[in-house]
Amino acid sequence: MSEQGGTLNVEGPRHWRNVVVLWLIANVIMVPIVVFVLGPGLPPGNGSVEASGQVTDNIVLLSLATPVALGVLVYLGYVLWAFRERTPEVVVDGPPIRGNSSVQFWWLIVTTTLVLFLAGYGTVRLLADGSGGGQGPNPIARPAVPAGGSRLVVQVVAQQWQFNYRFPGYGGVETNQIELPENTLVQFNVTSLDVIHSFWAYELGVKADANPGVNNVAYVTTKGPLIFHVRCAELCGVWHGYMFNQGRVVPKAQFAAWIAQQRVKFAPATKTLPPYSKTYFPEPLRRGG
């Protein structure tokens, strides 16, 4: 830009230096607080490997956002203090500064670097294990089975307004409760029978939309025993707010016992279910009644 007018530091008190010093002080105070005090409390906690990953991610984002926010706030506070009109009755114009190319240049450099770093960092984290998000029918990020662990496929069947869970490895039994074995790579195949729902297991760091006719896969690697809450995160009709239940991560033996018991309990229903499939198109498709 062809800027007329002076640079930032022509005269008077060294405002620029003051702002930078204040900003540094604010950072020295706030960043450790954010990283070490707020950080560990960030969601969704350490319920699973993926959830822990999200916590780390949130800490990184927050610790980068803090200096940015502090920069704006300190600057804003400073200019309001330093450049406020003390005699508002008289209208006096300020200096006609129309820009400063070096400030603009460095602003662009710094923000671009930040943004590219964030996007790169997010991509790396996402591609590492999928971060518990729904990845559609052909997942690109497939976490490895944990050492000494196993894997389990659970189908989440969402319908208005209840989540059911189907275990293809256990005779295709369908239950209205969910328990998962610890230290296991769980593959959730999320689908819906009617409208869009979203399977959100908060403590496990899993969220995957349940779309009718779509198999949306999300992975989670469980850690130790835990109670987790499942809620629907996509408006699905009148009982959307009531579409929740509680699940448990339990030791492997306990899980084996539980699933065996469920198979017996739901034997009559299992007989009538359609064969296990990644998507279902139940009749009637169109108009009921």
Binding site: N176, G237, V238, W239, Y242, P268, P284
Partner: protein
């Protein structure tokens, strides 16, 4: 009157109209919720009698919608209410007279009764665990406590089917009885899982989405 005076009067009248409109909006629409019915206490325990009909009364707002009614077993008094008040931590015997035909389950899993005592229901006097999913007419379900009871539909070639509510016991119907233990105090919702809303995509709109027809609350006190 001065011009300013006229404007003040005008503003006051306008403000009053706005307040009335807001009052009507809240009073007539927002808080217009179906009423409630309490379970009957007898010497044999707590009983709840419900009826499901293929269509609400002809005078109803939606005379074509399927609906639940609270039925008073003694006086054949049908009430169009869908909030049922039950005592906490008690065994309740529920009897549902179903006058509606079968429309089949979307998820056949709900053909099995769950959450009842013993996991069984009594259908027309016979004890059973499950019904054929294609014969299901409705499901009485309280998902928060894992209760789901399928209701068998009236046969398609029934001789004396009921049209609009109220339906007396002389019409063709199926009777389902089950017992369950109520949870602690609180408000629980119940719903149906059979896509029974005629005329709606996948049978899941209208009455299936509206409290007062195929949805309601269990108020445990």
């Amino acid at each position: 009157m001065t011009a300013a005076g006229k404007r003040i009067v005008g503003i006051t009248v306008f403000a009053a109209i706005v307040c009335v409109v807001i009052g009507l909006y809240i009073g007539l629409y927002l808080t217009n919720v179906p009423g409630s019915a309490a379970a009957t206490q007898t010497s044999s325990g707590t009983h709840l009698y419900l009826g499901t009909v293929p269509a609400a009364e002809t005078t109803d707002r939606h005379p074509t919608w399927v609906s639940y009614y609270a039925v008073d077993a003694n006086s054949a008094n049908w009430q169009h209410v869908t909030t049922y008040v039950l005592p906490a931590n008690t065994v309740v015997t529920v009897t549902i007279y179903n006058y509606d035909g079968a429309s089949g389950l979307r998820n056949p899993w709900f053909g099995q009764a769950t959450g009842t005592i013993g996991g069984t229901i009594t259908l027309n006097g016979k004890q059973t665990k499950a019904i054929d999913p294609d014969d299901a007419s409705h499901v009485f379900s309280i998902p928060q406590i894992g209760l789901a009871v399928p209701l068998e539909g009236v046969s398609d070639n029934a001789k004396n089917p009921c049209g609009n509510a109220p339906c007396s016991l002389s019409y063709d119907h199926t009777t389902t009885t089950f017992t369950f233990r109520t949870p602690g105090k609180g408000l629980y919702r119940w719903q149906c899982f059979v896509p029974c809303a005629a005329g709606y995509i996948a049978g899941f709109g209208g009455p299936m989405q509206t409290v007062g027809y195929m949805d309601g609350f269990i108020k445990v006190v």
